[in-house]
Symmetry: C2
Subunit: 368 residues, 2 copies
Amino acid sequence: MGRKRTKSGKIRLAEVAELAGVSPITASRFFRNPEALSVAKRTRVESAAKELGYVPNLAARALASQRTEVIGVLIPSLTNNVFSDVLRGIYDASEGSRYSIQLSNTRYSILQEEKLLRLFLAQKPAGLIVTGIDQTAESRAMLEAADCPIIQIMEIGPHPVDMMIGFSHYDAARAAVAHLFAQGHRKIGFVGARMDPRVQRRLDGYVSAMKDAALFEQRLVVTTATPTSVTLGGALFVDLLAREPEIDAVFCANDDLALGVLFECRRRDITVPEQIAIVGFNDLEFMASAVPTLTSVRTNRYEMGRTAATMLIEAIEGRRPEQPVLDLGFKVIERQSSSSRHADSRPAAAGAGAGAVNKMVALPSTHD
Amino acid sequence: MGRKRTKSGKIRLAEVAELAGVSPITASRFFRNPEALSVAKRTRVESAAKELGYVPNLAARALASQRTEVIGVLIPSLTNNVFSDVLRGIYDASEGSRYSIQLSNTRYSILQEEKLLRLFLAQKPAGLIVTGIDQTAESRAMLEAADCPIIQIMEIGPHPVDMMIGFSHYDAARAAVAHLFAQGHRKIGFVGARMDPRVQRRLDGYVSAMKDAALFEQRLVVTTATPTSVTLGGALFVDLLAREPEIDAVFCANDDLALGVLFECRRRDITVPEQIAIVGFNDLEFMASAVPTLTSVRTNRYEMGRTAATMLIEAIEGRRPEQPVLDLGFKVIERQSSSSRHADSRPAAAGAGAGAVNKMVALPSTHD
DNA sequence: GTCGCTGCTGGTAGCGCTGTCAACGTTCCT
DNA sequence: AGGAACGTTGACAGCGCTACCAGCAGCGAC
């Protein structure tokens, strides 16, 4: 063969094989399964590849092997802090592995998700990470028919497609409300924005806890489909106060809203927590730094992303986890914004492991 | 040929061509350059593809055409809010185009960036988006030798590799300090974290403005290499106060730090802006909502990402922009946290277009 | 009427790699 | 000693698509 290089001047596997004095297929094996080679050839190929600065052509590999080394990730938003933490975990876990991440934004639309899923699946990804448990029937069918591992993240539910990692937003919201009850609060408002399925389940948890205590009233709930923001938190709180001035606590569906409520309280000289207690959700970094410090429900977002990607890669490589559904739990982090009425400082409530899954199954009305 | 389908059951271009009654190569052309086909064949191929649900095999396309439809993006952090806005812009602009985004995280290391660059370039990306202007000499050489369009984002400097979009952090910092001068402040502290090249240039801008006014003192500057956070803002501010209790304003290298300073002031009953003025950087959403509202330097992050990706795609397709270096400018958004001393409410300072580039060239000490 | 041009179409030959299967040498067992 | 079993290696034939070039018709110019 006359040519030594590809047109573009790149080093090919054949050159590496030639320098190492082995056949191309042996060199190929070195990169896919080094243990299959004798030590002598292995070192020869290794040094030849290094000397030539060989980088495999992924397109050729994908074409020949009929599969890619791409992990598809479908998330609903790039703006939301919550997802950037999850993504960081995913990227961290994929780094150093042979897999690369292909990210797409569903913009909270399950129709868009379905479209993207079709696109992804057509390229035969090595694995797929999808957000949540509320896919369309069509999406669900495609996922079940897919011949790659799939992991659903952000929450857990009774019918995993394959693997699943998250926590129960329903239980977490109930725990937050229980915490407020324990502090002596009764007229607890709910403030929520965006109202995606997970926020909706937080609302469901709040409603059920309030109903259990015979304290639920529809006018305590203020929500909007608008994307969340700190400013919006203030605005929703203003609405809430107008509907029910006697409120003594607010449970916010996320921390941005909580910060907005805090600022609005300050603007109106409402003391926190004396006049109104505030509880957020997610426990973003600033919550511990605010004045007063803000109570929140801690969720393990980075760990969720990282573990999801790690589990997925393990599964891709044939080592399926013995525990395909992982409940990462949550923890109510009690801070000044909700701890005045009682000096009571007993340990905060915590979400269980597999227990929460069972609890969810026992409460099917909230997960369909 | 006997087989009608690929092993995996996927529809191939050949099937589409057969159904449309044209040759495979004609069908292929339909997807790459529909105008080259006669109207009759075009519609035939189109409906055949639709009927069969054909999805092209990107790996085969990449292998045969020696190029991919991937835009590589190298950013230093996934945590930082600033980058999530930029990324959102990039993803939004790429959506609907044929290009997909391949993201990698350099973790603020130019050595890591060099390594990733080598990896990316080996796969022949259609284009590349890199952060900043501080690449290693090796990276720089690779970028200049690359046969794809490249755009540097986040800041502008005198020697673009190819295209460039951003603003002058140096000028923006000077404008922030000038604003504080105009409000009558003199003992202005600087608080910075992470100290990546762009934060460093903000510090340089602060230093030069302070020196111009003969007000610079080293002890007014508190920085750390630690990643930024709200809590850290408070801690750095405490340091600053310990070094110089007479301070009357703080310029924070970003908004998280500014929020931390605000909370720390509240904790210590320091009134803002009466006793100490605060100015942040980036103008994140919460700045307008805080109590008092916080002055900040607005930067067009989403627009930067969006425009960068749009310009890059245009360049990939052969339509190079007539203006390869774009200065998006900045704007000092004056709010309560820095506007008490004077009731002066004249228009805020704004970063110019190409002017800022020239200014940077005139100040080479800050860009090497 | 011939030539060359343009617009459209098709055939051939790979792109660089890997799946499959066969073949080889060696070891270990009976 | 013969044979099975294993570990290791290589030949062949594509993966699905596109670059390149050739061919063909239809047209206007000379």
